[in-house]
């Protein structure tokens, strides 16, 4: 929470990137506490590790300071507060965390827990669900990573004749 506020208040983008890494590590610890080791591992590796490095590399292309805003943004703040309040209000309709009688714990999860080990001889239930029962979703996820990567690569390499004809010097990385 404090880290988030610090991120918002920080004008130096280098500080923002480092604080975002700190935030990711804190989230990873929270996920560890919830026994979601797989997700915690991903958060620590992706959120704190690689994304910090990539953001620093992106910072290398742009200026390291954010321009101060001319006037306080009242309407965005109101919208953000309103949406946040609505979401918090909606959480009161959710069942208590970890309750056994909820649909999410009643529908397919018992089947997975019962059958995963004898269906595919795999000890880690998360791997069994991700790669087998929900294999199609994971294929989609990999495709998302692939598409996003291709998109960014195209953006970063796209210094064809179009950008030079408009008088932007090719080395100007401000658009990235």
């Amino acid at each position: 929470m404090i880290v988030t506020l610090a991120i918002v208040r920080q004008r130096n983008l280098f500080g923002v990137v480092v604080l975002a890494g700190v935030y990711s590590f804190l989230m990873a610890s929270v996920l560890m506490v919830y026994d979601a080791v797989d997700v915690a591992m991903t958060e620590a590796a992706v959120g704190a590790g690689v994304s910090t490095v990539l953001l620093l590399a992106a910072l290398h292309l742009t200026k390291a300071r954010e321009y101060p805003q001319a006037r306080p943004a009242a309407i965005p703040l109101l919208v953000a507060l309103g949406v946040g309040a609505a979401l918090i209000w909606a959480t009161y309709d959710l069942p208590a965390f970890g309750l056994a009688e909820t649909p999410i714990n009643q529908h397919v999860v018992p089947y997975y827990i019962e059958n995963a080990r004898k269906d595919m001889l795999v000890g880690n239930l998360v791997a069994a669900i991700l790669a087998d029962y929900r294999g199609f979703d994971t294929l989609g996820e990999v495709t998302v990573v692939f598409t996003a990567g291709i998109g960014v690569l195209l953006l970063l390499k796209g210094r064809g004749p179009r950008s030079t004809s408009r008088g932007i010097p090719p080395g100007d990385g401000g658009t990235a």
Binding site: M41, A45, A57, D119, V122, V126, A131, F136, L139, V142
Partner: protein, 138 residues
Amino acid sequence: MKHDLILRIGVRLMIPFMLLFALYVQLHGDYGPGGGFQAGVITAGAVIIYALIYGIEEAQRVVPRRLVEFLVPLGVLIYAGTGVVGLLYGQNFLDYSVLSADAPHGRERGILFVEAGVLVTVSSTMVALFYAFSERGR
């Protein structure tokens, strides 16, 4: 950072263990926490830290950019191809039970292949992005 002795030696000591740990996370993902995504990111991390300390040219001598950009779609193809094998044997798409004589072993093997595809795509995408950013900056 090329001339910092401590960083150079420290990274040189760390990278083998990082790659080994990535391999462990990848192959042991069936039994412990981990899998293709995590292992891919750790692998990419090893390459990126090498590039950070030893310079991007040195890293591209080890892991050429063309190879990385070839691997990005290859991982998706490995994943989807594993699914297509199921189709060819007359089962559903991504039904791995045909990959071995009995269904449970086949599904275990299918998970292995699929995770390998995830590893290839995730790690090469991360490295390709890092290369693209750092080359653009020069």
